[in-house]
């Protein structure tokens, strides 16, 4: 049993105490115990990072055009594989979620429809799910 008297660990505002409980990365990335808005926030960040990665990859792929037809044709041959098409579906999911949730965040962020933001999120996600399903079918069935 620890018998030492209690001491303040953060004497002044703005200074780091000996035992800061600021959760850092876990504070936003840990989904445990989070509610709908918190989960949407986490997913929004992750899809944002994913889209950023995709754009980087996209630029790298486009640079293949500068290397001539053989390099481009080589990429196109693997772009039609089922695994690659599955990545396309994941990409569409990321774009849809980030874009549709972004509509909610933008409207709410300017004080609009704040009281209905949860219903708006659900409605937007329903729209997104339908669009994702259509896109997935198109991705896997289009010639």
């Amino acid at each position: 049993m620890n018998e030492q008297p209690l001491e303040r660990t953060t004497p002044e505002r703005g200074t780091e105490g000996a035992s800061p409980r600021r959760r850092g990365l876990a504070g936003w990335a840990d989904p445990r115990g989070r509610r709908l808005g918190g989960l949407a926030f986490i997913l929004n960040r992750l899809t944002g990072l994913g889209v950023l990665l995709y754009l980087s990859f996209h630029l790298v792929v486009l640079s293949l055009l500068a290397r001539g037809p053989s390099a481009w044709d080589g990429f196109v041959s693997i772009a039609g594989s089922p695994l690659f098409l599955a990545f396309d579906v994941v990409l569409v999911f990321g774009l849809l979620f980030h874009g549709l949730n972004g509509i909610r965040v933008t409207l709410v962020g300017f004080g609009l429809v704040v009281e209905r933001q949860r219903a708006m999120f659900v409605a937007l996600m329903i729209v997104g799910a339908i669009a994702l399903a259509v896109a997935a079918v198109r991705i896997f069935t289009a010639g």
Binding site: T10, N44, G109
Partner: protein, 257 residues
């Protein structure tokens, strides 16, 4: 550490329900390099709250357990904690309602610890004080008082019990100590909309800032965590609307609110 409570001698947390719950309680003492969890086993009744159990643990098993509480009915705001990763008032959270055989109890996050489950609230209060911490005087609610028209719209901001659950749940406070935080912004909204002698312009100067209302990312965790229905997220969005409309007016030649 494992320990067991004798149900026959406890007045708070036990009953003959046969429901035994394991508690993993966060421990930290000043000078420790890091916190850890101690485990306790209690038999609990349907009405047993998390605070009941913690008081029983401290009374019967480990008097070194540090926790803060007072009213036992979610009015004083002192027993806010993270229970199974969610911010709650321990005094009104029934253990069996959690539906978990193991209950993890931690102090509220994003502040410094005094010890175990007690968090240093100085920073939290300082942020409220910077806003002016508006309060409605009790005299204004006496039957003979003249209550300002429309005051009901602002009443919810008076319900803040300063428990800190909103700042604990906020994912932005978790990563950026410069952010004013949801509690102070809710107080700011109240002060701006109904100043009572405070300077709304000065408060908007604090709020209309990248570390003010614009730092929020609309996760609404603060509103979900609030035990008093203050709706800090709604207040933050109202402040944003006010700030944006003020800037728009100033752009077209009007006066900034």
């Amino acid at each position: 550490m494992n320990a067991q409570l004798d149900p026959a001698h406890d007045t708070h947390a036990t009953a003959d329900t046969g429901v035994r719950v394991r508690f993993r309680v966060y421990r930290y003492k000043a000078g420790d390099r890091a916190g850890h969890f101690d485990e306790f086993s209690l038999e609990v009744a349907p009405e047993t709250t998390v605070l009941d159990a913690l008081v029983a643990i401290r009374t019967r098993l480990d008097p070194s357990l540090v926790l803060r509480h007072s009213c036992f009915h979610a009015s004083c705001g002192t027993c806010g904690m993270r229970v199974n990763d969610t911010e709650v008032m321990a005094c009104v959270t029934k253990i069996l309602d959690l539906g978990s055989a193991t209950v993890k109890v931690e102090p509220i996050a994003n502040g410094a610890l005094l010890g175990d489950l007690a968090t240093d609230m100085v920073d939290f209060y300082a942020r409220l004080a910077a806003i002016g911490r508006p309060l409605i005087r009790e005299s204004e609610w006496l039957p003979s008082s003249i209550v300002p028209e429309g005051i009901e719209a602002y009443n919810r901001f008076e319900s803040c019990i300063e428990c800190g659950l909103c700042t604990s749940a906020c994912p932005i406070v978790a990563t950026d100590p410069r952010y004013i935080g949801p509690a102070a912004l809710a107080a700011a909204c109240r002060a701006v909309e109904e100043p009572r002698g405070l300077d709304p312009g000065a408060i908007m100067g604090l709020v209309d800032d990248q570390q003010g209302a614009w730092r929020c990312h609309a996760a609404f965790e603060c509103t979900e965590a609030c035990p008093s229905a203050v709706d800090p997220a709604g207040a933050i969005m109202a402040l944003r609307r006010r700030a944006a409309s003020g800037r728009l007016r100033s752009l077209i030649g009007g006066r900034h609110a």
